[in-house]
């Protein structure tokens, strides 16, 4: 397309499409990747809980359940590893200018993840999956704890990396302009990292808990494996309740105050608050109209945003009007929807989990078919909420790649053309479709066989 004043807007997209391709490349691969770690990190503490209950009560059903979820964990872990290697590679392949700039700092956390978390997790996962007969019950319990620790440590190092990009601390600029570590403790004690970690991990916990409850509900509705189904439901519902409340308060609240303090323009864009001032309202539903700078069809609570941010109904929240247009996140509409989908689903999770817990307490959950159906169908929504949450974090940081230090437009690999980027993006789309089908197939086989079914690898022995 030739440039003329009429297509000046289009020009940005056509001329910068290498940037767009590299962004889509990372966005797609990370979104797909994170479907798997959120399940493993969420299941890990639940498996430890099941093993603990098994040891305490001596009830075989708990051990069977732990073994069953260990197998699901294992499948998800393998997918997490094979889709995780591309993430690490892409820092160099697609974002080489960013890596040259930031590697001196975030290389710390990324390398520590490999050394402290992956080795621990992969080594003891093998032991947990293949070693139950060789180990004592207590040693097998320890292997579950090690897997739990490994997966949660891994989460921390990645969050610390992202937190540095959101709120860079503990670095100094070298003569060549790159960022280099100046304080290790500032990097790992970044306040942003700890709030984000708390929020992210309980998000993963919600996924694990709802998936477990969903499979439990499936067994009861199906009328098979009912004993294990009840164990899954009980564990899943209690965990879902704890995690989803923790997700709102204190972790979500803390994360929100971090954004209000360090990225006020992001908060304004998340809420699509075009005009700031005292007593800002909280928009529940409505479509941001960027062109006219207003919300269409708003349903809002007056003063609520001000209260949530400053604990005062009349507090003055900064609106987008206080910032120059080029500092606004570029995609306000998607940011706004991501954030509202996350919050909306989070609220629904709390309601669902609390009602299910009430039924469990009254002893009615296992026979309340309507609730079992709700739990069964809840399965995809924690994935959507977690994805939307991450989109909020990453879109909200734009136009910055490292907040106030490096623009996203300056970070991608200038030597890798849009065409080559598109080629590999298409390759990943195809490859991940196959991987996704494989995952669903393998998990479905496990669920269908049930906790007491012959372990799948064993069937070949008969030949």
């Amino acid at each position: 397309m030739r440039w003329s004043p009429h297509n000046a807007g289009l020009r940005i997209h056509t001329m910068d499409n290498a940037l767009l391709v590299h962004r889509l490349h990372f966005a797609f691969t990370i979104t797909f990747h994170y479907l798997f770690p959120q399940l493993t990190m969420g299941l890990a503490p639940l498996i430890v809980a099941l093993k603990t209950l098994g040891l305490r009560t001596g009830n075989r059903a708990y051990h069977d359940s732990a073994r069953f979820w260990g197998r699901i964990f294992g499948i998800s872990f393998v997918l997490g590893v094979v889709t995780g290697i591309p993430m690490e590679f892409q820092f160099g392949t697609n974002w080489s200018h960013f890596s040259r700039f930031a590697g001196g700092v975030i290389g710390q956390t990324l390398a520590m993840e490999g050394l402290f978390a992956f080795f621990l997790e992969s080594a003891f996962l093998g032991l947990f999956l293949y070693g139950e007969k060789r180990l004592t019950a207590r040693a097998h319990w320890w292997s579950a704890v090690a897997v739990f620790l490994g997966s949660w440590l891994s989460g921390f190092f990645i969050i610390a990396t992202d937190a540095w990009m959101q709120h860079p601390v503990g670095f100094e600029r070298a003569p060549d302009g790159s960022a280099q570590l100046s304080s290790f403790w500032e990097l790992v004690l970044n306040p942003w990292a700890w709030w984000q970690y708390a929020h992210n991990m309980s998000g993963a916990g919600i996924t694990g808990a709802f998936v477990m409850a969903s499979v439990g509900a499936f067994y009861l509705l199906w009328g098979r494996n009912a004993e294990h189904g009840r164990v899954f439901l009980k564990t899943g519902v209690i965990a879902a309740c704890l995690f989803s409340i923790f997700q709102l308060f204190p972790s979500g609240d803390g994360q929100g105050r971090m954004i209000a303090r360090y990225q006020p323009v992001t908060l304004a864009a998340m809420e699509a608050l075009f005009e700031g001032g005292p007593g800002a309202p909280l928009v529940l539903i409505g479509q941001p109209n960027i062109e006219e700078k207003k919300i269409d069809n708003p349903i809002q609570i007056p003063g609520a945003l001000a209260f949530l941010t400053y604990r005062r109904w009349g507090g003055a929240v900064t609106g987008l009007d206080s910032f120059p247009r080029d500092k606004w996140p570029q995609n306000i509409a998607l940011l706004y929807y991501s954030y509202h989908i996350m919050v909306g689903l989070g609220t629904i999770f709390i309601a669902t989990a609390v009602i299910a817990l009430f039924l469990l307490w009254r002893g009615k959950l296992f026979s309340a078919r309507w609730m079992l159906w709700i739990l069964l169908l809840s399965l995809p929504f924690p994935y959507i909420a977690n994805t939307a949450g991450w989109m909020t974090a990453e879109l909200g940081r734009q136009p910055w790649l490292v907040y106030n230090l490096m623009l996203t437009a300056d970070g991608y690999s200038k030597t890798v053309s849009a065409g080559n980027g598109m080629f590999t993006l298409l390759g990943f789309l195809g490859m991940y479709t196959v991987l996704g089908i494989m995952f669903l197939f393998l998990v479905w086989r496990e669920i269908e066989h049930g906790p007491l079914g012959q372990p799948l690898a064993g069937h070949a022995v008969a030949h």
Partner: protein, 347 residues
Amino acid sequence: METLWFMIVAVMLTVYVILDGFDLGAGAIYLFAAKTHKERQMILRAIGPVWDGNEVWLLAAGGTLYFAFPPLYASSFSGFYLPLMMVLWLLMLRAVGIEFRTHIDNPVWQGLFDVIFCGASILLAIFYGAALGNVIRGVPLSKEGYFFEALWTNFRPGPNPGILDWYTVLAGIVGLVTLTVHGSLYVALKTEGELEQRSRKTALMLWPLQAVLTILSLIATIYVSPHALENYRLHALSSVIPLVVVASLALLFHFARRSDYLKSFLCSCAYIAAMLVGAAYGLYPVVLPASTNAAYSLTIFNSAAGHHGLMVGLVWWSLGMVLSVGYFVFIYRMFRGKVRLEEEHGY
């Protein structure tokens, strides 16, 4: 400090090649050495508990490389964009092959997954060899320290080479043969019966080829990159490295003939380590030579991370390594011995 991190990264990559090398090699002989369903099951069982743990070494080595030499990581990964993406796809296909193979009980599909697993393993072994060849030969670095290499140009190592030229193809074949022998010995070590015998025969048959290729690759390297010898002239002690290569290669054959697979496998490990360390020593202090202008080469000095960061890293790296080696020794002890299909129903 930079030298120390150069050594650490070289050692971690070597460990990765040795560990993932045997399961790649086992994959490479998979279709040919294992004829029956049961034998194929045995190979998969032999690598089942360890293959993804071995791949974790790639992540850890990559992470450490990123941490210690960010500009090198940035430059080489973006420059080798296309082959690296293909490595990723092959790693995925391989995982698909292994995982589906064990879970779908249908001979038609299993045939497909067998071919995927074996084919991806062979291609990966070739890619790794070719990757090393590229690093030794040099790449067309610009003044800013970036490059982008096409998959092939005129198949000649020159100022504007492609990923594949005659030298890197040779390196790829060396990689394939070496890892195939390595994997065969591992399979022989972990299995019994005809499979054990066939794996042994594969290793013995490929050995003369491996010996010839070792000599050929040495000559080719000196031809393509004459600087490689400078460091060896500097210190007489460094002649130990080629001696280890020769000795381990000879002993590998000797022990394999006597069916002492453990010793033979360890010799193969020593051979791989000596070849890689030899290459790294020849390059030092350069980490990515420029084929355009020697002044543009990336060295450990112009591509290391900040001093403070490297110091801090030394503390946690040592701690992390002690822990990790501890786990690995523990796990390999737990799963030592021959694979028997009757026990251990994992997932």
